[in-house]
Amino acid sequence: MLTLTSPVETPFHRLPAGGKLAALAGFTLLLFATDALPLLGAALALVAALHLFGGAAFLAHGARLLRPLWPFAAVVFLWHLWRGEVLAGLAILIRLSAAVAAANLVTMTTRLSDMLPVLERLARPLAPLLPPARLALAIALVIRFIPVLSDRVAQIRMAFAARSPRRPGWRMLPPAALAALDDADHVAEALRARGGAG
């Protein structure tokens, strides 16, 4: 799957992306401005409650997205436990989970096609430096070439498996990098032949 947008349709999918982003920015600023445990707890409960609009599976998926935080959370909590500042450690953990979960919620409920116009609007002041058409082309090319490159990597892995019972490991890297550079050259040539990137 090439996007983190949730397939579960929630009421938030229909809200304007710009508004959601602005709300997220405000929410995160507030989170980092306060140390009060009840306030942080309420914020985390609010984020969890918002997840519930999408049903239990949606909530479970949101919780799964927080998993990469665990190692950091464990280290920080143990550190504060050792220094006898359990409450301070708890506040940090709650703030962190609330901020990350809220941001993930926006990502899960906003389609790429809704996000791009916001980016376009934000990038408009940069127009003299960076023509919007060129930025749009660059984004489109990256999105298009992610599956192409992962196919290439799968090919290289199969070719390696045909020759050796060992795991390819880092030996995948040079051929994959070469393939990416060659593809990039071909695309650049094709673009130039058709009049350039505009």
Binding site: M1, L2, T3, L4, T5, L24, T28, L65, L66, P68, L69, F72, V75, V76, W79, A88, A91, I92, L96, A99, V100, A101, A102, A103, N104, V106, T107, M108, T110, L112, M115, L116, L119, A138, I139, V142, I143, I146, W170, L173, P174, A177, L178, L181, D182, D185
Partner: protein, 141 residues
């Protein structure tokens, strides 16, 4: 690291910026299929924001030395990908996790062995590219 050592300072930094933009838009491009706005609120935000600068410095080192590609790329990867990147990452962790800078630096030590291995790999891959496609090594135009 590789972005800078192969593409050079400017192109490498722009490539990483574009990559971060797409991560923020919600594509799961980071290691472990992570992505979305959540990672910019998490503890590794400093590392993410430091990536373009690190790629720039790695590319700059690669462009300015006359060492052979292997050692130049390894040096670039260590200077850019560790020397320049870690201060960003440490500041980010200190801010998000509410630690002092010293405490955050201890935490960063956990990443050091892996990143040293990656720097050696970046050197090896850059050397392989230099041999197979000398013209594609834009950092050595």
């Amino acid at each position: 690291m590789l972005c800078g050592t192969i593409l050079g300072a400017k192109r490498g930094a722009f490539a990483v910026l574009l990559f971060l933009l797409l991560v923020a838009l919600g594509l799961p491009l980071l290691s472990g299929g992570r992505g979305g706005l959540g990672v910019f609120a998490g503890p590794s935000v400093g590392f993410l924001l430091g990536f373009p600068v690190a790629a720039f410095v790695a590319g700059w080192v690669m462009e300015r030395t006359t060492l052979p590609p292997l050692t130049a790329a390894m040096a670039g990867a260590v200077i850019g990908g560790i020397g320049v990147l870690y201060p960003f990452g440490i500041a980010g962790m200190a801010l998000v996790l509410d630690l002092s800078l010293t405490e955050a630096s201890y935490l960063a030590f956990a990443f050091l062995p892996g990143d040293l291995v990656k720097a050696v790999l970046a050197g090896l891959v850059t050397q392989a590219i230099a041999r197979a496609r000398p013209g594609a090594l834009l950092s050595r135009g």
